[in-house]
């Protein structure tokens, strides 16, 4: 004799909380370790004082926002226009949002370094103004994606804007060479050897690696969110 089937539970199934992404967890731990190393185990600069330590966040965040995030947005947007693969659109979306977060860090930490060193939080020179412009483009990208409901049109419009954001990056990079700006020349990412003492260079490379790892973790978590959202849109459209 077979036993009767268990009755269905009366309550709705409990929503499983998204598990902590191991890559994101590793990125957060590495980032905290990099902050602690820069703050407590790296000597301050004799001329600039403790404010010089802002460099360990500012420059790696700028590298991540400009070259990794905007580079990925540019490549994925261009490839989407060619291949029309929705995974490319989702990757561009995720990368643009993570890039906006890092660009926000750049635009907060930069003025906080500028005030004690230049005597001003902000100056409308080419590097700073073009960086602010890129921040607005990335913000506009997010607003555009929220405003267009039709997935194909949203992907097409945001791909064009993503390519424009990517085109700004070489201009921002070269602006210190092309124009007279207050912004310092690169001290590490330059053709010649880095002009930085060894102890500071180790902290800088550690910060750069930690922030790159954090970017990878955030990108993966945000890409998964975009995938779930796309599936939800698909299910809702079928109803």
């Amino acid at each position: 004799m077979t036993s009767p089937a268990k009755p269905a539970p009366l309550t709705a199934p409990r929503i499983r909380t998204p598990a902590l992404d191991p890559l994101l967890t590793l990125g957060v731990v590495a980032f905290i370790a990099a902050l602690v190393r820069a703050a407590f185990f790296t000597p301050p600069d004799a001329a600039q004082g403790m404010a010089q330590k802002i460099l360990y966040i500012h420059a790696p965040s700028a590298f991540t926002a400009l070259y990794l995030a905007c580079g990925l947005v540019f490549i994925c947007s261009g490839l989407w226009l060619w291949l029309k693969d929705e995974r490319l659109d989702r990757m561009a979306d995720a990368s643009a949002e993570v890039g906006l977060a890092f660009m926000t860090v750049v635009l907060i930490t930069g003025p906080l370094w500028g005030r004690p060193i230049w005597g001003a939080f902000w100056t409308w020179d080419a590097k700073l103004t073009s960086s602010l412009f890129l921040w607005f483009v990335l913000l506009g990208y997010q607003i555009l994606r929220g405003a267009v409901e039709e997935p194909q049109a949203r992907a097409r419009f945001s791909a064009v804007l993503g390519i424009l954001a990517g085109c700004l990056v070489p201009f921002i990079h070269l602006s210190v060479y092309l124009f007279r700006t207050l912004h310092p020349m690169p001290v590490v990412l330059k053709p010649s050897a880095p002009s930085m003492p060894n102890e500071m260079l180790v902290s800088f490379v550690f910060s750069m690696s930690a922030i790159t790892l954090l970017f990878a973790g955030l990108l993966r978590a945000r890409y998964r969110l975009a995938t779930d959202r796309a599936e939800l849109e698909h299910l809702e459209a079928r109803r």
């Binding site: 199934p13 929503i15 499983r16 909380t17 998204p18 994101l24 957060v28 980032f31 902050l35 703050a39 301050p44 004799a46 001329a47 600039q48 004082g49 403790m50 404010a51 330590k53 802002i54 966040i57 500012h58 965040s61 993570v98 977060a101 926000t104 860090v105 907060i108 930490t109 906080l112 370094w113 005030r115 004690p116 954090l214 955030l218 978590a221 945000r222 998964r224 969110l225 779930d228 959202r229 599936e231 939800l232 299910l235 809702e236 079928r238 109803r239």
Partner: protein, 46 residues
């Protein structure tokens, strides 16, 4: 050496708030989307 530690402390605190807030926002949005997805899937399954 100039005494400007307050700017460095503000910069590190602001970075922690921006990136920490962003991580929390991803977590909460993922949770909300997953809840809606689960509800949609159960409707589909009926």
């Amino acid at each position: 050496m100039p005494d400007n530690a307050i700017y460095f402390e503000l910069a590190y605190a602001a970075t922690a708030i921006v990136l920490g807030g962003y991580i929390v926002s991803i977590f909460w949005r993922a949770r909300a989307i997953r809840a809606r997805l689960l509800a949609e899937r159960s409707v589909e399954g009926r």
